[in-house]
């Protein structure tokens, strides 16, 4: 009863917020980094996205102050972690006496990699950048795998992702990737937890709306890993999935699980066309 009326009320309320939200969060603000790298923060939604016309970077929904932190690498706290990763990159570790730099002399050679990850490998398995890095460590360096979303890994992902900053996200969703993508899509739209919500309830149906103190974004992954003011560290995309699931009182899938890898692919595909902002700043 009253269904339509209330949907309309909510829609009107949402419109009103769009208007004020714009002023508040500086949505018309342009993301220019270091005065010279201009990054588009919205794009036409990819064809597979039925319910959105435009996709937006999470940067758009942050306050002016938080937005500003990402506009200069000297102000961006992520760069402390990028520096840590540069040291890790050059550090010999493991039984083979090698560092990352022994095989990949210039980290710049990773330009473009992040735009296409996760992807399906020659064996038909879905792999994330995290998997690639740990494969190098265990198989080529004889070193221990890093914890999936731990400090070393999130720092290295930030350094590797930075090499693609400014390039459009473009993950493959067809061919061998299709079954993984389907699974990720199903997870995205499945209601979970005691609060019984799906990712889409918040990030598709209600983006640009306030949920208590939080301004909901589309939950895009183009800025990951992201430095959060809340915990003062780099946060991987799968750590974020875990946080969102716990908030709705759902048992999260494991870091590096098949489910979260599929979800990582699907979420990345929702942002096909958005520009890589790694390492970004959020609240």
């Amino acid at each position: 009863m009253g269904m339509n009326l209330f949907k309309t009320t909510a829609a009107v309320a949402a419109l009103a917020i769009m208007a004020t939200g714009a002023a508040q969060a500086g949505e018309d603000a342009k993301l220019v980094i270091n005065g010279d790298l201009s990054i588009a923060t919205q794009a036409a939604a990819p064809a597979h996205l039925e319910n959105l016309e435009t996709v937006y970077s999470g940067w758009v929904f942050r306050t002016k102050e938080t937005q500003a932190l990402e506009m200069d690498d000297f102000d961006n706290p992520s760069f402390v972690f990028v520096d840590v990763a540069l040291d890790l990159y050059a550090a010999v570790d493991g039984t083979e006496g090698k560092s990352c730099a022994s095989c990949h002399e210039n980290v710049e050679d990773f330009a473009g990699l992040t735009t296409s990850m996760p992807r399906v490998n020659a064996d038909g398995a879905l792999e994330t950048t995290t998997d690639l890095i740990n494969e190098c460590r265990t198989e080529r360096m004889g070193a221990k795998a890093w914890k999936y979303s731990g400090t070393d890994m999130s720092a290295m992902l930030s350094l590797v992702g930075l090499q693609s900053r400014g390039m459009p996200v473009n993950v493959a969703i067809d061919g061998a990737a299709a079954p993984y993508w389907d699974k990720g899509k199903e997870l995205y739209y499945t209601r979970v937890g005691q609060l019984d919500m799906s990712c889409s309830n918040c990030h598709e149906d209600n983006y640009n709306v306030m949920i208590r103190a939080d301004h909901l974004s589309q939950g895009q992954s183009n800025g990951f890993p992201t430095y959060r003011l809340k915990n003062a560290k780099m946060n991987t995309i799968q750590a974020r999935f875990k946080g969102c699931m716990k908030n709705i009182r759902a048992e999260p899938f494991g870091q590096g699980s098949d489910e979260f890898k599929a979800l990582e692919l699907y979420v990345a595909s929702r942002g096909n066309g958005l520009i890589v902002e790694t390492p970004s700043v959020r609240n």
Partner: protein, 149 residues
């Protein structure tokens, strides 16, 4: 040991007595989304309900609803409609139904069901088999909503 068992038995009896008039989550009778009978068999307490409404770990209703009766609470969410005047739009039975399980009133809504304890997918361990609010808390929130005129 003996003493412990006696205490435990007394506690069980006490809780049975306290909840004797309480409807279990699976037994709530909805009619067109509304629930006519109090879940505890008694009227709720509006002052307690006001606290449950605002508490982030309980109702957290402000996550999604604006409520001008609580100007002292900053950050009122806008996912759902403002609840000002809710009692003018809905009867007590309808409000009890909306708080207990709003999916029976608003198909496919994002609003959580506050008095349902089963049927969830991957509920976090400590919440498994539990409702978000107790029957008493639901009645208290309903009593509070009835003051929003």
């Amino acid at each position: 040991m003996k003493l412990l068992i006696t205490t435990a038995v007394t506690a069980v009896i006490a809780s049975t007595v306290a909840f004797a008039g309480t409807t279990a989550p699976g037994d709530v009778a909805f009619k067109d989304g509304a629930v006519a009978v109090s879940l505890t068999g008694a009227a709720g307490n509006a002052a307690d309900g006001r606290a449950v409404f605002a508490d982030r770990k309980l109702g957290n209703c402000l996550a999604c609803h604006v409520n001008s009766e609580m100007p002292e609470q900053s950050f009122q969410g806008q996912v759902g409609p403002p609840l000002d005047g809710a009692a003018d739009r809905w009867s007590e039975a309808q409000l009890r139904g909306i708080v207990s399980n709003s999916k029976n009133t608003f198909e496919g809504t994002i609003m959580p069901a506050f008095y349902v304890d089963a049927g969830f997918t991957r509920p976090l361990g400590k919440f498994e088999g539990k409702t978000i609010l107790s029957a008493q808390q639901v009645e208290d929130v309903v009593a509070y909503l009835l003051t929003l005129k």
